[in-house]
Point group: C2
Chain length 275, copies 2
């Protein structure tokens, strides 16, 4: 059974009611010892203050969300993305994150060339890695569900992310989020591959609801959907992963509306019983 010390809360899960300070304090009160903040949550409190709050509560940081969004229609746009990614990297280092999570971005405005977008992603990652390697910050490519290929991430399977990581070299791996990969007929084989290649950097959990009413903001709490979470945990453990299980739930009409104390209690219970 998973234990509470393996649990991390992605702070998007409580973002509607709590800022970073409240969320870290809430997690600490609940006995949770790891979080994953988003950059906008950090910016609102300030980077140094966020780092202090996290340190004071002895929170581990399973990842910083997020860098990426590399493709752009213009050279200037791509340079701006590169600069933003260097800032994200600095923040991840300052916060002591275990990795910088990358959502790679989709098609540039007006483009239908997903191959070109994927090329921009790889080029952008290559540049970011020049700075991330000396900083010792692992870069975790998060393949997103294919329904986000156009507008959020044109890297959509573990196989694709691992192929890309293989070409890029050291310092880069994958974040395996069950929501994005549960459907993949190759999911177990590619998780095993990620482990054997030393690239399994993060494990994110939630659930896939039936029906899913919104493409972005209708993720479920573990146990409320159809993902076989024990099977996927078994796969990551068999691949040698002994890191945190990060709960990340975008849920505009359900969990985001609830009392965050209740949300955390439910995360703890469901993580123990249903994953």
């Amino acid at each position: 059974m998973p234990t509470i010390d393996q649990l991390s809360i992605n702070l998007a899960t409580v973002r509607e009611k709590w800022d970073l300070r409240q969320a870290v304090e809430g997690c600490a009160r609940a006995g949770i010892s790891a979080v994953a903040p988003w950059r906008d949550q950090v910016a609102r409190i300030g980077l140094q203050e966020s780092a202090r709050i996290i340190r004071d509560h002895e929170m581990r940081v399973s990842g910083l969300c997020r860098g990426g969004m590399f493709p752009a229609a213009t050279e200037a746009g791509r340079r701006a993305a590169d600069d933003e990614n260097l800032k994200a990297l600095e923040e991840a280092v300052t916060l002591g994150a275990q990795c910088l999570v990358i959502v790679v971005g989709g098609l540039p405005e007006g483009s239908r060339d997903i191959g070109a977008a994927r090329g921009m992603v790889e080029e952008g990652l290559d540049k970011l890695l020049q700075a991330a390697r000396p900083a010792g910050m692992p870069i975790a490519i998060e393949p997103l569900h294919p329904m986000y290929a156009a507008d959020r991430a044109c890297v959509n399977t573990l196989r694709q992310a691992l192929d890309m990581a293989g070409r890029l070299g050291d310092g880069v791996g994958v974040a395996a989020d069950v929501y994005h990969i549960w459907w993949d007929p190759e999911v177990e084989a590619q998780i095993a591959r990620a482990g054997s290649e030393g690239r399994l950097l993060a494990y994110h959990i939630c659930d896939w609801l039936v029906p899913t009413k919104d493409l972005l903001l209708d993720r479920g709490m573990m146990g409320d959907g159809v993902i076989d979470l024990p099977r996927l945990r078994g796969a990551v453990e068999a691949a040698g992963y002994d890191g945190l299980h990060e709960v990340e739930i975008f849920s505009a009409n359900d969990w985001w509306k609830r009392d965050p104390e209740e949300v955390l209690r439910t995360c703890i219970e469901r993580h123990a019983e249903m994953t």
Copy 2:
């Protein structure tokens, strides 16, 4: 440039305003020479009458939609699905369809075991093929977008469908629908494989809108979205496919509300100019 004699209209595209008779007559008036009906549209008019209407208008039938939906929670449910598939097969034969399109089905009620569901699909297809082969009716597995893995189809990529077809043997191939496969980093390689294995049975077109507002009923008209349709047509042609291009648009809040004459005119124009 694609020509109008390559165009087929999946009758779901005009289903809100026209029954099968009206749709076939409308297509004939517009100079379109192929259609793909749904079984409920056939049932409403009657099978023999539908076949007569199609014959009288010298329409080719690019496929009958649809068989499949194999997984079920009980043996009785699975037998019922098998029986229903035999009926669909008979209808496809009577209508002179070029193939019976298969949407395989998702998870049985209450199940999280997608591997088991996939096993039920393969078993159901194996049974269906015992009857389809002597009838000379090709069975076209349509991999559906991963966002439908839970509730509509647990076969979600061309690779997976072709692996399954390879195990099943003769008489079964794939329907390649751009909406479901455009995002796949392997799409071109797997289309080429489908061709070289003699399993590329159908090609369906529409477009992926950004944003997509509904998981099921917000497909776009060719040219209104982000799919690189000429590239995918090039891939199927390079794979040796010289069959019909079937337009299938589920669009509750746009195309289904319009005058079907306008919809058909737009299909013809966009097929010629944008695909």
